[in-house]
């Protein structure tokens, strides 16, 4: 399997999927058809879980995500959560003045078992 990098666009975030065990998602995620955008990312994660184990870091640095993207983010987190071979860690970066983005991260944390590290900047 290979590392994958997706450049950000007007509607889509920048995504880096690294075979060393790190995922970074940053920018805005607000496409109407979030499912099509996130499908290859879900497949990459499924493939990673099938072939690798150990430490796995997910870093979110999202400025904004819409409701269609929220569904895809939760799906991704639930998949990682269920992977017993992975020691997952989630970093949630947010602007210090933006309480809503912090709340959105806390909310996702409630819905999965993997704890989040909240990092204001």
């Amino acid at each position: 399997m290979e590392s994958i990098s997706i450049e950000s666009s007007e509607y889509g975030p920048q995504v880096k999927l690294d075979v060393s065990g790190k995922i970074e998602i940053s920018g805005k995620s607000m496409m109407e058809d979030a499912e099509t955008f996130y499908d290859p990312i879900h497949s990459w994660i499924d493939n990673y879980i099938d072939t690798k184990d150990g430490r796995f870091l997910v870093e979110f640095n999202l400025k904004y995500f819409n409701s269609s993207s929220a569904k895809q983010l939760l799906r991704m987190l639930m998949t990682i959560d269920a992977a017993e071979k992975l020691k997952a860690e989630i970093n949630w970066l947010y602007p210090a003045e933006n309480d809503i983005l912090l709340e959105r991260g806390e909310e996702l944390e409630i819905m999965v078992d993997t704890p989040f590290n909240f990092k204001p900047f």
């Binding site: 007007e10 109407e32 904004y64 819409n66 569904k71 799906r75 602007p95 819905m111």
Partner: protein, 370 residues
């Protein structure tokens, strides 16, 4: 976008009807854009995209020229008073094969005279006389202190092939200079119909209404990805939408409401046509959207009314439960858009449905307190 404190209407339910009334005025428009506030050059592309997405390259270049000239005119002649940003308005309307570019800003009496003189000189010139006058101006390099010698106006008339419509209206001890450039989108057929350009008085009357209702932005037309992206860019460029919660609320409200227009309007006649407006309120902003819906789309009214009765905690619980229920289902509908909007904005969602010959029209509005 500029904020003023002259709202005459404090009821949010009233604001939704104001936008609905304005929509009636734009019924024959293919697209309408109104923006009130400080102008920056970066708006040119956004405004052109919003005004007419199907422009051919040549027409797009002409339009860019007129938009830039209008902006420059505002900068060149605008009175140096704080209220100028609040009273400066820019609008584009596409009606039939015509595009109308309208601007209004405050000028001082001395500038009024300069502008009137420049316009009087070219008022009744034939196209040959106009070309000759243009060459004379260039060769004599007769630039005024304001850097124009009327060259801008001459270029507008030469390239639009129409006289420049204008008015001066006394306002706040200064003059509101209303200017309208009319030009035809040659790529559009008007099926041999005789068309007349819109009279500037109509736009000026609408301008007065947008001031009265403190509307800072309005778009009426097709809601495609490009349109939404242009509107969001304008909102981003005029507000700090990333750094704090209030900016996030504004951005979130705009995204969800615009995407709602696309989502619910797409199966109805005329595709994704809709309206989106931002009004200033004493507490912040009132955001409003409208689009046609199918008859079975009426369940949204009941849904919104039920969400309006819930506390923030209840909304959070409902959001999580709905998201978890739908997370593994195929498709993009997470069923959480309205719940998320209501809990993020934390104010009542107003909703109004009306019916006309084209079907059911749904309008939604909400206030964002800053």
């Amino acid at each position: 976008m500029s904020k003023t404190n002259n709202s005459i209407e404090d009821s949010n339910a009233g604001r939704i009807h104001i936008v609905s009334e304005l929509r009636d005025c734009f019924k024959n428009d293919k697209s309408t854009v109104y923006y009130k506030g400080a102008f920056t050059d970066s708006f040119t592309d956004r405004i052109i995209t919003l005004a007419e997405f199907e422009l051919e390259r040549k027409t797009r270049r002409r339009m860019a020229f007129f938009v830039a000239e209008s902006f420059q005119n505002i900068v060149r002649h605008g009175a140096d008073v704080p209220e100028n940003d609040e009273l400066s308005l820019f609008g584009v309307r596409g009606i039939g094969s015509y595009l109308h570019i309208y601007s209004s800003n405050l000028v001082e009496e001395a500038d009024k005279e300069i502008i009137e003189n420049s316009l009087a000189k070219i008022e009744n010139l034939s196209s040959e006389e106009l070309n000759e006058y243009y060459r004379d101006l260039l060769m004599n390099n007769e630039l005024s202190e304001k850097g124009g010698a009327g060259l801008g106006f001459v270029s507008m008339v030469r390239r639009s092939k129409h006289p420049v419509q204008h008015q001066f209206v006394k306002k706040n001890g200064l003059y509101s200079f209303n200017l309208q450039i009319d030009f035809k989108n040659e790529s559009l057929s008007n099926e041999g119909k005789q068309e007349e350009p819109l009279n500037i008085v109509e736009n000026s009357n609408l301008y007065d209404r947008t001031l009265e209702y403190d509307i800072s932005f309005l778009y009426n037309g097709e809601f495609s990805d490009d349109m939404i992206s242009s509107m969001l860019s304008i909102i981003e460029e005029t507000n700090n939408t990333e750094a704090n919660s209030a900016g996030f609320q504004l951005y979130h409200g705009a995204v969800e409401m615009m995407q709602n227009v696309v989502r619910h309007g797409k199966d109805v006649k005329d595709g994704n046509d809709g309206i989106f407006a931002i009004l200033n309120t004493p507490k912040g902003y009132y955001m409003c959207s409208g689009n046609y819906i199918k008859k079975d789309g009426l369940s949204i009214v009941e849904n919104v009314e039920s969400l309006n009765l819930k506390t923030k905690e209840e909304l959070n619980e409902l959001y999580r439960a709905t998201l978890k229920k739908n997370v593994l289902k195929k498709g993009n509908n997470a069923g959480i858009g309205l719940i998320d909007l209501k809990r993020t904005i934390d104010s009542k969602i107003d909703i109004a449905v009306s019916e006309d010959k084209d079907g059911l029209y749904l309008m939604m509005g909400l206030e964002i307190k800053i």
